[in-house]
């Protein structure tokens, strides 16, 4: 009885209830959409980190990560990659020689990270080969060729087929150098990465620095699913106890942090929205109680108990918040899902986004779990905002029913 009575009661003042429901709806909708949007950005960033920059797991000599010391290589990388390749959930493995060095063009020079890779293996581990905007990804038989980022090309003022000079230390700690012809230019969503990374052939770099051709500073491992990055890391860590086995959250702490920070931001964000709505709802419901003093008095007079009165006002409040909240959730979810397929292209901010490592084409994304969490928070908001007005209603006196002034 109270369920339907309360529902009818909220439609007494259609305009006011509609306004409240709309406010809750818009608030929740905005919350859901913004979360989906931020989530999409973060997700995309993480995909870039994993697929383009880091892969799931990397193995180094302990201490190599600190300043890329050339002498900290793993001497027999090939036998390691063979073992890793046979591990469960490993989809592909690539060994790399990594040198922090200086590249110079005719115009200028700059510090970069040179990655000596076996293109056939590297293509399976990272998707950089798909980011080529000019030339190709080592599709040539020539020796001493390089693939560099667009930002670096701009900085060095070089173009395709121009040469750059790579200066490095060799195994004997002598300075050595070589000219490399640019055969490909790539562009990722991360301009920093594009400016700091140069790819050359593994073999060419070994020759330049005097390595045997079996060593590696870095072994990058791609798994068949991100979910395994922790267990496989643990497993490899045991297999190679003397080496440093790290997954992407350790290698790119800021990306790992993004994931956990996102969850916290999301909760704070929703709480702020719901808190604001909560005050609006309380205010409205206090007005409702005030307007119905006489009727509530009558209900008490004719024998409606205080718990029932309390429950009726609670229900009205909860109906208002939940109706608005659910509408907002559904709309937010539908829009996010739709845009999650077609994408939102913020091309006019492309430079700004890319300079901090984000794509300007965003695919909003929100999980059902998040939706359920927000739904629960909306319900709690409804209940919390209902308590005070319902309590006010209880304070009324049944004699109000007979007052005529």
């Amino acid at each position: 009885m109270l369920w339907s009575l309360s529902w009818k009661n909220i439609w007494r003042n259609k305009l006011r209830s509609t306004v409240v429901i709309m406010a809750v709806m818009l608030g929740v909708f905005a919350g859901v959409f913004l979360i989906a949007f931020m989530n999409g950005m973060v997700e995309d960033r993480i995909q870039t980190v994993i697929k383009t920059e880091i892969s799931h797991i990397q193995i180094h000599q302990p201490g190599f990560g600190e300043n890329n010391d050339f002498s900290l290589f793993m001497p027999d990388a090939d036998s390691l990659t063979q073992i890793i390749d046979k591990t469960n959930h490993v989809s592909s493995v690539s060994k790399r020689v990594v040198i922090s060095s200086l590249v110079a063009s005719a115009e200028t020079n700059t510090g970069v990270k040179i990655l000596g890779v076996v293109p056939e293996d590297e293509m399976k581990v990272t998707n950089l080969s798909t980011k080529i905007i000019e030339g190709s990804y080592f599709a040539t038989d020539r020796k001493n060729v390089a693939v560099i980022g667009k930002k670096l090309a701009e900085k060095l003022k070089v173009t395709l087929n121009k040469k750059i000079i790579i200066t490095a230390q060799d195994v004997n700690k002598n300075i050595t150098g070589g000219a490399f012809r640019i055969v490909g230019i790539f562009e990722t969503d991360n301009y920093m990465y594009d400016e700091l990374t140069v790819f050359v052939r593994y073999h060419d770099l070994c020759v330049l620095t005097g390595l045997q051709g079996t060593e590696a500073h870095e072994i990058a491992v791609l798994l068949d699913d991100n979910a395994y990055s922790e267990p496989v890391k643990q497993k490899l860590g045991k297999d190679f106890a003397r080496l440093d086995v790290q997954n992407w959250t350790e290698l790119s702490p800021e990306a790992g942090y993004l994931v956990s920070a996102m969850d916290q931001y999301m909760i704070i964000f929703i709480i702020v929205i719901l808190l604001a709505l909560c005050f609006g709802i309380i205010n409205t419901m206090l007005m409702v109680v005030l307007e119905r003093v006489k009727e509530l008095g009558m209900l008490m007079a004719v024998g409606m108990s205080k718990p029932m009165i309390f429950f009726m006002i609670m229900l009205e409040t909860i109906y208002l918040s939940i109706t608005g909240g659910m509408l907002g959730l559904v709309l937010g979810y539908l829009l996010s899902n739709h845009l999650g397929i077609v994408g939102v292209d913020l091309y006019f901010w492309k430079e700004a986004y890319a300079s901090v490592g984000y794509s300007s084409l965003i695919f909003p994304k929100i999980g059902l779990q998040t939706i359920i969490l927000i739904a629960i928070m909306v319900i709690i908001t409804g209940i919390v905002s209902a308590i005070y007005p319902a309590f006010k209603a209880l304070k009324l006196n049944p004699a109000e029913a007979t007052r005529t002034d």
Partner: protein, 234 residues
């Protein structure tokens, strides 16, 4: 049989700030089946008296016994339950639930009492019939005239099969024709179904219909006339 005994009732509003003595030592007894009216000028204490009889307000002094039960000493919760079971109310300003239809307004009281669906439906039909609103039974109160609304209120008051009905100036917001019509219905219910009515009024025509007229002034009973007994004498 005495159904209501009022013993030494006084009521002072706003005891601390600006005291108003609304009732001053009232003693009254009502019998089962009475059709009594409380009359007196505005501010004489009619509403206050009815509120106290109905347990909507507490007297500052004195007791109200209904069927021997001292309702002044009941706790808030038991008082509400007591009202639901024993007392019907009709208010000056109708006070129907605006979002419910005529039927639903009447049925509501029985729902509060936890009556069965079957019982509710037949009783509602019966009452709608009794107050002559069969053709309006699915209308909401705002589609009814004042007189019709007050008839719904009477039906609602009867729905719980109370021991008596208290009506505070039930005709004050009605035109004279509707007022007369309402009184006729109340009189009929009183006679045919032996329902006790106690109503207040300051309308002389309404007063005339009552079989007992209690006059109060400044919170005191100054006259209490039972017509049935007077008539044979005069």
């Amino acid at each position: 049989m005495n159904i209501i005994e009022i013993k030494g009732i006084s009521k002072t509003y706003d005891k601390d700030t600006m005291p108003v003595q609304a009732l001053n030592g009232i003693d009254l007894v009502f019998q089962d089946g009475e059709f009594a009216s409380i009359v007196g000028p505005s501010g004489s204490g009619k509403t206050t008296l009815l509120n106290i009889i109905g347990g909507l307000d507490d007297p500052t002094e004195g007791n109200v016994l209904i069927d021997g039960i001292n309702i002044t000493s009941l706790s808030g919760h038991s008082k509400t339950a007591f009202r639901l079971k024993n007392i019907g109310f009709v208010f000056q300003s109708f006070n129907l639930i605006p979002v419910l239809t005529v039927r639903e307004n009447i049925e509501f009281i029985m729902q509060l009492q936890g009556a069965s669906k079957q019982g509710r439906l037949s009783r509602t039909d019966e009452l709608i019939e009794a107050v002559g609103l069969v053709d309006k039974k699915n209308c909401r109160p705002n589609k009814l005239s004042g007189g019709q609304q007050q008839r719904v209120a009477v039906a609602r008051a009867l729905a719980s099969k109370p021991k008596f009905i208290l009506a505070d100036e039930p005709t004050a917001n009605l035109d004279s024709k509707s007022a007369e019509n309402l009184l006729d219905i109340m009189e009929k219910l009183n006679k045919e179904e032996n329902i006790t009515f106690i109503f207040s009024t300051h309308d002389a025509r309404v007063m005339k219909k009552a079989r007992r007229i209690i006059t109060i002034e400044d919170g005191k009973v100054i006259d209490d006339v039972i017509k049935d007994k007077i008539m044979p004498e005069s």
